[in-house]
Symmetry: C3
Subunit: 254 residues, 3 copies
Amino acid sequence: MRAHELPHITADILARLRARAPRVHCITNSVAQTFTANTLLAAGAIPSMTLSAGEIGAFVSRADALLVNLGTFDEERRAATAAALDVVGERRTPWVLDPVFIDRSEPRAEYAKSLVAQNPDAIRLNGAEFTALGGAEPDDAALTRFALDTLAVVALTGTVDRIADGAQLVSIENGHPLMARVTAMGCAASALVAAFLAIESDACTATAAALLAFGVAGGVAGERASGPGSFPAALLDALYALDKHTLGEKARVT
Amino acid sequence: MRAHELPHITADILARLRARAPRVHCITNSVAQTFTANTLLAAGAIPSMTLSAGEIGAFVSRADALLVNLGTFDEERRAATAAALDVVGERRTPWVLDPVFIDRSEPRAEYAKSLVAQNPDAIRLNGAEFTALGGAEPDDAALTRFALDTLAVVALTGTVDRIADGAQLVSIENGHPLMARVTAMGCAASALVAAFLAIESDACTATAAALLAFGVAGGVAGERASGPGSFPAALLDALYALDKHTLGEKARVT
Amino acid sequence: MRAHELPHITADILARLRARAPRVHCITNSVAQTFTANTLLAAGAIPSMTLSAGEIGAFVSRADALLVNLGTFDEERRAATAAALDVVGERRTPWVLDPVFIDRSEPRAEYAKSLVAQNPDAIRLNGAEFTALGGAEPDDAALTRFALDTLAVVALTGTVDRIADGAQLVSIENGHPLMARVTAMGCAASALVAAFLAIESDACTATAAALLAFGVAGGVAGERASGPGSFPAALLDALYALDKHTLGEKARVT
């Protein structure tokens, strides 16, 4: 895709998502579950969050995309991930890895590396997490190399979001500083990437479009909210109402 | 009860609930816990949510009602449910079953059937869940038959809520379309049914009144909210302030 | 500290907290996790919430303070607490105990007593919890004696918050009645005490300052909110914006 086309493409994916209501199964941390579910619902997707080993296969086999988020990881989530990735591998369901806080715990970083080897379609993470996973500072060359090595779209989020798939590199300067003062923002963005992957087969386009939608909604929320407390509700309201006009007007993509 | 009396009865139960502050123990899914607790508190009840096998007996024996919600069900919740139902059976504490997503997982549907055999006072569910549990499309005849078979009040929620106890069938057309775009709405409604059962001994009246209160609060919230993000807070504000006047004015019961 | 100095001291600690962004690891209940994380972020701290035995040591060893909250306590949280307290003991990291609902469950009360013996810097609790832990009605003499016995700062919250360290006793009459109608308020206040302990070495000052900040933010929120639904967001907005002027104007400390 070309950068100037992304707002238009994002509006198109969002319209298809609202029409098809894809199911997104989320293995995610206990802090982020509610906001993640509400982000998916606001965008038009249907979340499920079950972790139990006896049931997760049934849920994932009926899902259109999977999120694996490593926050508050534990034995139950580890077993759930193994079972879910078996189903996803067989059915070629798209999936996203969000390696939360792997810079804080070496065992978690090692585990994240083993998941990268199982071919996620996209990996969303911040700078410290990229360094723990990719072994380098997150500059453009390192992102591109990592994307080429892993065959995953790499989405580094922060003040500027950068999305790389080895062939192209997209930068998005939307979002809002309050997003760093509310929990689960990155986790919810990763879930939205999964929902977009359920709709759009070009993984780089889907990932960039999801982060643009989330970033523009975050920018709108930042104008309306009175602080970090009122920000999450404002973001969901903006995401629910997001349209071609707002995307075209607000998007800052290069 | 007669349909036109329900708003008045609901206001009366709500007044008693606010005066007595019943304790409602909730075995519920991790996504819905916070909103469920806040719904109970906004209505005037006192929630508790402990699941551990060593403690749940103590909590349930001091509770005035119990909710068993099957979302994100796992071994811990299964053991908690067994222990809780032992106490509830001995003490004749009213309890509500919310068989979340049993249409997605056969083992969960089988488990739900085993719980129905343990005599819940009310079962709240949606159409797909009713079909998985009752083996039929959720028409009036099937609801009535299921209520007669199980001796439970059956509460089917959706665009129209229908409550059946075998002898009568109440329809409530309140609520708001945004309730389908926010997680945990049905779960919280089930918890409110449990709180009303703690106060009102006629289970059908209690169930219908709880769903009317929740639906009217949802309708008020829909007028005030800017989207699904601001909706849950608006619903809790409306539930907290709900009075005889608003119930009488807004209720659509037949 | 003297009572009239507390607003000024609180503003100073808050400024240092915002500059240093301390890490606070939280072993807390599943109902309170999200609001607790957002409270810490709104104040300027960085929360983490991992419980798994294999990782909690790494998280706590990099944290500046620890919270142990006994809500929804289970085997995973018990093992996490043991591992976390080992690290905290070695590194002399400050920690806070919040013995939620120990008045409802004797095994939990016994466990809380064993934790008190491991020297928390502060214990935050309500009246019923104090009686279960301290064996007496929570009057000033009992609070002081308990603080002397345990060498912990005791912070009893309610309509009036009272903080005792054996030598002094501070009373704070801020907050708002809606705080009793929203879940996780006490839990979040305890987390804020942990964040303040990471910044201020005098434990009694840190505890009183944290509760003053939370109480003033709650009072501001009570003026702005439309009910218990909109209250939590308003509290976080107020905490984020809290400054010397508002603290000086609103504080009611004796």
